[in-house]
Amino acid sequence: MIKHLFKLIWKRRKSNSLMMTEIFFSFLILFAVCSLGVYNFQNYMTPAGLETNNVWVAFINFNTSSDTAKAEYKELISQQLKRYREVESFSYTSSNAPFTFSTMSNSLSYNKKKVSSDIVSVEPDFPKAMSMEITQGRWFTKGDIAGNFVPVVITKHLAKELFSTEDAVGKIIGDGEEAAVSKKMKVVGVVDYYKHKSDFQELDNTLFRPSSDKWDDTMVLKVRAGSGAEEEAKIVRELARLGKDWTIEIQQMGEMKSNRNNLVLVPVLILLIICGFLVFNVALGMFGVLFQTINRRKQEIGVRRAMGATKGAILWHFIGETAVIATFGLILGLFFAIQFPLLNVFDVEASVYLFGMLLAVIAIYVLVGICAFYPSRQASVLQPAVVLHEE
């Protein structure tokens, strides 16, 4: 039966070519949207590895170029912050603190393997301020910093890329650029997750290293629940009083995170709306065209019925025909879509694309099924006597 349908459509491929092209394009659009959706959803489902509630980020600018002065000022601010009951813990970080727009990355090497990774300089209190969990080893302490190696903590993703299955803790990494000039790094701990760009970030490479005293003038602060603008104003005012040229800005990390999330979400939503309308448009068109074709083939239906085909057979025959047309379009579309995982476009896991394809194929069949059902039912209730009488 199916073979027969294929033969039928193949013989009339010219008259159905427009339908096939439409299916082909719709599939590609759906494939893109589904892949994007799957990719973002998968990333969204992984734990963040950090808490943003009651976390503030302070951007401090000392407006001075002298390094010694900077170190001094930073110490002043630390001393001042320890006096506040509202501030539970705080840590200076490099300017690429979570959910800021700045990034710093570098290549790391281990056994001739080079891997690129985000590098964040933080103080020992950083995991406390960000409520991070260390899964292997420990976080570095003040005492570590004076040792022969620079103690670092890395994400699981980076550990896997560098050392594959081996245990990461205790390994020595030569940093591509600094190995020659400074101390090598020693891994002292591993964290599972650290999503610091948005909730839709894929698991990525991050390396935490002890903060050096001159550059890092961004700060994360964990504050007591319920601290609001009042406390914020007080702290900013009192800190700014310590130095007359300083500018200090405090932002809520929760807000920063939702900003970053919106940057991902808004384009995806706009795309979804546009694609939804496109596909709806195509569905309407298909519906109309099917109506037309079935109208034109009334006699054929009459003959079939007269020869003993049941209503159900007619219904399924027409739905089947449309499904076969869709299949031809899909085969062409899949040929293009399969290139994405094969060529590893955008460096995304193949499973995302495959899942996207699967969803798109299902969506197309459902769409075609819905569009074909009503006209086919109309066809199946035709009375042979009436139809053939028209001649």
Binding site: A229, A233, R237, A240, R241, W246, G288, V289
Partner: protein, 416 residues
């Protein structure tokens, strides 16, 4: 005769309501999306308040230093001294304004905070732009020479900080423990005017950063407005000659020691394409435009195929009609004429619907305060091109098969 055609057309459109709906939906919806998207694009690149002279202006804001040996590069805004040294000294007569990149800061006011953008500018900034002052006035070179701590705010900050409709000029505004006297209030502009939008404008003398440093890179952009609009090319050439003599910054860093320097005076749009896709001396504008056009074509292709598909099957349905009319002596020409008129009317109705829809959407976006002060405008150019394209598709897919059919023998047409 035309009136007759009209009557026939409307009768036909009414006869198959569903088909009419499909075609109309396709046309009007596609046009609406296209018009709204291009309105956004237009808003981003065309002149608008307060940059009404954007088309005549040149922008210098990005300087790129490249290390051709190690392959590294670094880029960013130019410094204040760069503008003074290399741009203000250009011979071609022009106004040069220096404005810093925007930064954000919080103003605290009885326990709630207002997050504001601020910029430092020179006095020329107000000459080059056309801000509307609701009250007070701009700061002048004299204010800067006196080292006055003054600030120009926009109406949004005034409403929150001083109160709606209250006079703000002469009041004090405290930022970071420093008090500034409010000297003027301007009508705000949308953040999409990346070089001029801000909530607070400070004269550069109040900046805490050291502006005397002679580094090339800094935090400033230059807006150049030639006195004579025809001097734009001349200015670009002159600046190019100046820029070719600038030496890249010497670093003692063995990993990054730049030996090539790129800095251009570009028109607004090109200054961005260069940033996105330019390489070396290429400005990337053609590439960006082709990408955008490609995306638009891809987006249009699906509704176009759909329109063609629906049209084709409608013509099939009307084969007998054509046959009968031919049998009664209608010529091919009359038949084709009828289908042409039908298609034009259908497209125009779709166009009118799109016009209404997109005006509504644009009105809603302008009203919704999604982006403060946004001022999208309806783009007639794009709208007419889109209508034309849908007409062409309509004619190709509706009229051509009809014409083919009208060439058939009556008997065959009737048999269809």
């Amino acid at each position: 005769m035309l009136f007759n055609y009209l009557k026939i057309t409307l009768a036909v459109l009414k006869r198959r309501k569903f088909f009419t709906f499909i075609s109309l939906f396709g046309i009007s919806f596609t046009l609406t999306i296209l018009v709204v998207v291009t309105a956004f694009f237009d808003h981003l690149v065309s002149a608008g308040y307060p940059e009404v002279n954007r088309d005549n202006s040149l922008y210098v804001w990005n300087i790129k230093e490249k290390d051709t040996k190690n392959g590294g590069s670094s880029s960013g805004p130019v410094s204040f001294s760069f503008i003074n040294t290399y741009i203000r000294t250009l011979k071609t007569p022009a106004k040069v304004a220096a404005v810093s990149m925007f930064n954000t800061i919080n103003i605290y006011l009885n326990n709630h905070k207002i997050k504001v953008m601020y910029r430092y500018t020179d006095a020329n900034f107000w000459e080059v732009t056309s801000f509307e002052f609701l009250e007070g006035k701009r700061y002048t070179a004299q204010n800067i020479a006196n080292n006055d701590y003054v600030v120009v705010i926009n109406d949004n900050v005034r409403d929150q900080y001083v109160g709606k409709g209250q006079p703000a000029v002469g009041k004090m505004l405290e930022v970071d423990n420093v008090k500034y006297r409010i000297i003027g209030v301007v009508k705000g502009c949308p953040v999409t005017r990346l070089h001029t939008s801000s909530d607070l404008y400070f004269p550069y003398n109040t900046s805490k950063a050291d502006l005397k440093k002679t580094r090339l890179r800094g935090d400033y952009m230059a807006l150049i407005l030639p006195n004579n609009p025809n001097d734009k090319l001349k200015l670009q050439e002159e600046f190019k000659a100046v820029a070719s003599k600038i030496k890249p910054t010497k670093t003692d860093d063995k990993w990054f020691n730049p030996d090539k320097l790129y800095v251009f005076a570009d028109t607004y749009f090109v200054s961005f394409t260069r940033e996105l896709k330019g390489s070396g001396d290429g400005d990337g504008s053609t590439l960006i435009i082709s990408i955008l056009l490609g995306v638009v074509l891809l987006f249009m292709s699906l509704p176009a195929i759909n329109l063609v598909n629906v049209n084709m099957s409608r013509i099939m349905e009307r084969a007998s009609e054509i046959g009968v009319r031919k049998a009664f002596g209608a010529s091919s020409k009359t038949l084709v004429m009828q289908f042409v008129i039908e298609n034009i009317i259908l497209t125009l109705i779709g166009g009118v619907i799109a016009l209404i829809l997109s005006s509504l959407v644009i009105f809603y976006i302008n009203q919704s305060n999604l982006i403060a002060y946004i001022d999208l405008s309806f783009n007639w150019k794009v709208f007419s091109v889109a209508i034309l394209v849908s007409l062409i598709f309509g004619l190709l897919s509706g009229v051509y098969p009809a014409w083919r059919m009208s060439k058939l023998q009556v008997v065959d047409a009737l048999k269809y």
